[in-house]
């Protein structure tokens, strides 16, 4: 996506000063995906392709319904089909629409080294500003959900934008528009929580005692939420992480390590400067050759050259001790 909403920026990658922050009344949005109402028709995938004008390569059937088999630079959302038996002999088909979760605390944005390549808007949408992307892949390293994909064609990172361009002009995301069962809803995060609560009451009545909403607090909550029949076991849904958070390795790398390492480097250089000013140089009394020595050195050099030792030799054993009569007087 490109940035058309420069006044609505909440967080900006690799930026140490505040972003434009004049608008504060923006409502946080969320997409709610009710897994229990999904029939796996993939209309959302098609709508995503159409709106974003993406065409993935036609793949091969690998024996499961997942098609394409994984997220890619051209497929920003993929239906993940899981066949599970939570109760013995009671097969359940769990179909989860996978894609960017739009974290409140995005690991991709924290890891990104390119200023302004990843933006979190005031409404909660996390967007890749592709023309600022340098293609390093740090977002892949930082994401707790394994979502961003780097294109081999242009070395840019791609993922779901939550249709930030549509939302910015008051439309719902394309996948929401296309969903025939109403399994995907879009609105304010508050409203989506209210709607999820109604769904959970319904699911509990139907015997799903552990039904619940997936809005993981380890990443500050997400702007894509799920209603899960088995919210106590999100891993059932094609490995949805139970308690996702930015990895401590990433937090250290892009947190404490940054200022500490830069301070150490600057500190070492400054310490060296002051050490010199306080202690002064180490001198032997004759550190630089006088003219005679220099001349003898040059002669020795050309003599060695003439002897075919011009390559300089790799052995430090090559002795070029000059005439002892012009030795040092230090």
């Amino acid at each position: 996506m490109s940035s058309l909403q420069s006044l609505d920026i909440a967080k900006r990658s690799a930026t140490t000063t505040p972003s434009p922050d004049a608008r504060r009344q923006v409502i946080e949005v969320a997409k709610l995906i009710d897994v229990s109402s999904c029939i796996g028709c993939k209309a959302c995938q098609v709508a995503c392709m159409q709106w974003n004008d993406l065409r993935d390569e036609v793949g091969h059937n690998v024996g499961v319904y997942d098609n394409p088999a994984d997220l890619s630079p051209q497929s920003w959302t993929v239906m993940r089909f899981s066949e599970v038996e939570v109760q013995q002999d009671r097969l359940e088909w769990l179909i989860r629409k996978d894609g960017c979760m739009h974290c409140e605390d995005p690991g991709c944005l924290k890891s990104c080294p390119a200023p302004g390549a990843i933006i979190k808007y005031q409404n909660g949408i996390v967007d890749f500003i592709s023309e600022h992307c340098i293609g390093c892949g740090n977002c892949v390293t930082g994401c707790p959900f394994d979502v961003p994909r780097i294109s081999k064609a242009d070395n840019k990172a791609y993922k779901c934008s939550l249709c930030s361009d549509r939302v910015g002009v008051g439309l719902e995301p394309a996948c929401v528009k296309a969903c025939p069962t109403g399994a995907i809803r879009f609105g304010s995060k508050e409203d989506m929580h209210e709607f999820a609560a109604e769904r959970i009451v319904d699911l509990k009545e139907r015997g799903y005692d552990n039904a619940g909403v997936y809005d993981p607090q380890g990443v500050g909550g997400t702007h894509v939420m799920y209603v899960l029949q088995h919210a106590d076991q999100p891993e059932l849904y094609h490995g949805l992480p139970k308690d996702p958070k930015i990895s401590p390795l990433v937090s250290l790398w892009k947190g404490a390590a940054k200022p500490l390492a830069v301070a150490a480097m600057i500190g070492a250089a400054v310490a060296g400067f002051f050490h010199y000013m306080k202690v002064g140089p180490i001198e032997s009394g004759h550190d630089n050759p006088d003219e005679d020595e220099e001349l003898a050195d040059e002669r020795a050099r050309s003599a060695a050259h003439a002897q075919g030792d011009s390559a300089g030799g790799t052995s430090p054993r090559t002795d070029r001790t000059t005439d002892p009569t012009t030795g040092p007087r230090g």
């Binding site: 080294p113 070492a268 060296g272 180490i282 550190d287 050759p289």
Partner: protein
């Protein structure tokens, strides 16, 4: 005058130095947002990202050649441990209790092995997330790799700062790398055992 570094070693040293600045400045651009402007030296963010691993790889290869030539003279001895114990006085300006050094003193040896370790870590971890040439691999592996890469780079930069400062501090040293030779007084004063060795050696 005594020959400390023949031509080939000096040229290799400066190849390593130039590549260090290339890889180092482009790497720092990605490390801290306040240093991102350094990517402009390489033609912008994407170009810095493209060039960084090639410069780094070439630096490690050139250093490997140098390290193979110098490692024997950098083996640690009991005298070096003694030298380290006295190094506080030396830094304060009193060299009188320092045990005599050979071609390299303990500080130089420490910097040498620091660079060997840091460059080895940079090389191995760098391959782990160089996705232009290598599969993207496991994400936990990438997280470990980027952290170790940053830590090793910091260690290397600190080592180079000490290395450059020592060259400025100990007068007459820079000449060893620019012209190859040092004065006998310099050698006697700073590396007495090496001086002795050079004087006793039969002349070529």
């Amino acid at each position: 005058m005594l020959l400390r570094y023949p031509d080939a070693q000096r040229m290799n040293h400066w190849i390593i130095a130039l590549l260090f600045f290339g890889a180092g400045l482009s790497g720092l651009a990605f490390f801290h947002p306040s240093l991102f402007f350094l990517s402009n030296l390489f033609g912008g963010g994407p170009w810095a990202r493209i060039l960084h691993p090639y410069m780094g790889l070439l630096m490690v290869l050139a250093f490997a050649v140098l390290a193979l030539q110098l490692w024997k003279e950098n083996r640690w001895t009991a005298t070096d441990t003694q030298w380290v114990r006295q190094s506080g006085e030396m830094l304060a300006g009193d060299k009188s209790h320092l045990p005599p050094a050979g071609k390299y003193n303990a500080g130089q040896k420490g910097i040498f092995w620091l660079m060997v370790v840091c460059l080895a870590v940079l090389l191995v971890t760098g391959f782990m997330f160089w996705h232009a040439w290598f599969p993207e691999g496991n994400i936990l592996m990438r997280r470990v790799a980027v952290l170790l890469h940053a830590a090793a780079a910091t260690g290397l930069v600190l080592g180079v700062i000490v290395h450059i400062y020592a060259a400025i501090w100990v007068k007459g040293s820079v000449r060893a790398m620019t012209r190859g030779t040092v004065t006998e007084a310099w050698a006697r004063h700073n590396h007495p055992l090496w001086y002795k060795e050079m004087k006793e050696r039969p002349r070529a």
